[in-house]
């Protein structure tokens, strides 16, 4: 009984895929047997077997049975003598390979090219033949039971990045009071009450307020240019570079809030006697997080494939893209502005690696391996989507400079030695360096005046330094006391 039920199921599947049937007056040349969909899922029969027999002609499996595995079987019957009238030619469906379990049979009947057979349980199945010269379809039919679905992706209209930044300046008026020896004391022949030189300013006069209304984060970097004659006066900046996150910070489409911060200016040194007026100028450089200057994609590149080409391109500056892996043999010193797209290749560096000496390097999309890693010596460095594989000091900033790393993996330490600022954003992964597994993470060396600003909580990834939660979605790593 189980056998019979299974067979009916299989036959139903065949029916569900009934196929092409052309009326043809000529003798068929090909016999098709559609068994697609026949399965043995019930495991109650030994599969389904076909036996196609013709008592004359060639090309037909006269004695061999075919184990059905779900497809359309075709047999060349063009050489069969008058197959449409040959009642001794037939197709048999079995449920095992013994030819003792015949379930249904159909002959190549006269005048028909669509054969229908009925088994003992009223299940039906069909075979059909196609003439080499089919006539117009007789009513029926092409069954085409499957069709692919094609999907095309179109980006939504780009939302432009709008930069809107308010800057409020304190008066930047500073008073230099020269040192005083104090009052001469005739009795002791000495001065008393001496005072050192000092700078002073009014309340808030030394502050620069920055408010970001943009739909992008910004980094504000101050610099000071001395006027001639006042070279002995310097300005140092606190909380700089200043990183402000985007104002696109509303939840679920709600309006966001502007982000803001303050840079403080502290004078040092001295000015000549009689000074009254302008002694220099402060400039704020503002770079968007997603702007090309902040690590975005340049469009025109010099493609390099050899060490010589790369060396020449680095010397010239500009936008450079690797065509393949390149191995360097000496330090690559960058003193100008370079955008280096590694193009998913590996740049193997040597000696002191990629050394930025006062230049501006944007490094993207690849691996920097080999000795030296990447160094920033007083330059501006932006690295995005890169793996820095130097196992000890993957990235090293000394003694000053501004660096920003976004979505990078560092297989050695990130070191801030002495001064400047390093900003980390996106996903920063610290892999293990060679040897000691703890030899990884962020290191702000003792005595360093700079800081590493993280747009994530770096706790747990500190090799050396102290973490402070700024409460605005940023954390600052400074030197441990």
């Amino acid at each position: 009984m189980k056998k019979l039920l299974s067979l009916v199921l299989a036959l139903t599947l065949i029916l569900s895929l009934s196929v092409t049937a052309f009326a043809a007056s000529n003798a068929p040349s090909v016999l098709y047997i559609d068994v697609a969909g026949v399965t043995d899922s019930a495991k109650t029969i030994d599969g389904v077997w076909l036996w196609v027999y013709a008592n004359s002609g060639t090309g037909i499996t006269n004695e061999e049975m075919t184990h059905v595995s779900g497809t359309i079987y075709s047999y060349d019957i063009s050489s069969v003598t008058d197959p449409l009238y040959n009642v001794a030619s037939y197709v048999v469906l079995y449920t095992d390979n013994s030819k003792s379990s015949r379930c249904t049979t159909t002959n190549f009947e006269s005048g028909k090219n669509l054969f229908t057979a009925t088994d003992n349980d009223e299940g039906t199945w069909s075979v059909y033949s196609e003439s080499s010269t089919p006539e117009t379809p007789n009513g029926p039919s092409v069954t085409n039971g499957d069709h692919k679905v094609t999907g095309k992706y179109v980006s939504g209209a780009e939302s432009s990045t709008i930069y809107s930044v308010d800057i409020g300046w304190g008066s930047m008026a500073f008073t230099y009071t020269a040192a005083s020896k104090g009052t001469w004391q005739p009795d002791s022949h000495s001065y008393q009450g001496a005072k050192p030189a000092a700078w002073s300013w009014g309340n808030g006069a030394n502050e620069i307020f920055v408010k970001n209304h943009s739909n992008d984060g910004i980094t504000v970097t101050p610099s000071y240019t001395k006027d001639s004659g006042y070279e002995n006066a310097s300005m140092t900046f606190g909380n700089a570079p200043l990183t402000l996150t985007t104002a696109d910070n509303g939840e679920n489409g709600a309006a966001g809030e502007a982000t803001k911060g303050t840079i403080t200016v502290t004078p040092s040194g001295s000015v000549p006697e009689g000074t009254s007026g302008k002694i220099g100028q402060i400039t704020l450089s503002i770079v968007g997080t997603n702007s090309s200057a902040g690590g975005g994609e340049a469009t025109d590149y010099t493609i390099v494939s050899t060490l010589e080409d790369l060396t020449n391109a680095l010397a010239s500056g500009g936008n450079i893209k690797l065509a393949n892996d390149i191995t360097m043999t000496s330090t690559a010193t960058i003193t100008n502005t370079v955008t280096l797209n590694l193009n998913n290749c590996t740049l193997t560096v040597a000696v002191n690696g990629l050394l930025v000496e006062g230049g501006n390097l944007t490094l993207t999309n690849g691996v920097v391996d080999g000795k030296g890693g990447v160094w920033n010596q007083g330059g501006i460095v932006s690295i995005e989507n890169c793996t820095l594989s130097e196992p000890t000091n993957a990235f090293y900033q000394f003694p000053s400079g501004t660096s920003a790393l976004k979505n990078c993996t560092l297989n050695g330490k990130l070191v801030l030695d002495e001064g400047g600022t390093i900003t980390l954003s996106g996903t920063i992964t610290f892999g293990s360096g060679s040897g000691d597994a703890s030899y990884k993470g962020i290191s702000v060396t003792r005595g360093s005046t700079g800081s590493v600003i993280c747009q994530f909580d770096p706790t747990g990834n500190i090799y050396q330094g102290t973490v402070t939660n700024n409460g605005d979605g940023t954390w600052t790593v400074t030197a441990a006391s």
Partner: protein, 185 residues
């Protein structure tokens, strides 16, 4: 020669009669009678013949991703944004099925997504399309008329942006299969 032919014809006629004739005794006052028997054999017809036409729309669907709109720096929010949407050309999402069979059929659509694009969902406006037999002519021999119906395909969900989906021709994200079944069984 003629005789021979006649004999053969006569024998054929005898053989062709279904009734049996035996010799019987005849009495002067009586008669004779004999039972007449008959067997009914159903006429042999051609059985059920299935013929189904399936016409597919292109089944090409375009996913246009959402747009935030324009940033208003004063209000700190985007304005005039648009939702993501799926579109297709006229009738590209229609499957038309015509039944020429002398039996009713049920057409059941199903969808199998490519693994990489399983976030796109395909739905049909009907679980099963029922089409009556084309053997619907008047009387026993009147020609019938094919029956016809449609299945409408809609796509929802999202589509991943990659090299294949952004190509001009798009990419195959899945396959629709129609399963046809004799509704009379």
């Amino acid at each position: 020669m003629k005789k021979t032919i006649s004999l053969i014809l006569a024998l054929t006629l005898v053989l062709g009669m279904a009734t049996t004739a035996f010799a019987a005794d005849i009495t002067p006052t009586g008669g004779d009678n004999h039972n007449v028997t008959a067997n009914y054999v159903a006429g042999k017809d051609g059985g059920t013949i299935y013929g189904v036409d399936i016409s597919w729309g292109d089944m090409v669907f375009t996913y246009t991703d959402a747009s935030k709109g324009t940033w208003n720096a004063a209000e700190h929010k985007y304005e005039n944004g648009t939702e993501a949407k799926w579109t297709c050309g006229d009738n590209q999402n229609i499957i038309t099925v015509t039944n020429h069979s002398n039996a009713p059929i049920d057409v059941t659509p199903s969808y199998t997504a490519e693994t990489a694009y399983s976030t796109a969902e395909v739905k049909f406006d009907k679980t099963t399309l029922n089409l009556g037999t084309a053997d619907n002519g008047e009387g026993d021999n009147g020609a019938g008329k094919a029956t016809k119906g449609t299945i409408t395909v809609t796509v929802s969900g999202t589509l991943t942006k990659d090299d294949k989906t952004t190509a001009t021709t798009g990419t195959t994200i899945g396959q629709i299969t129609l399963t046809l079944k004799d509704a009379s069984k």
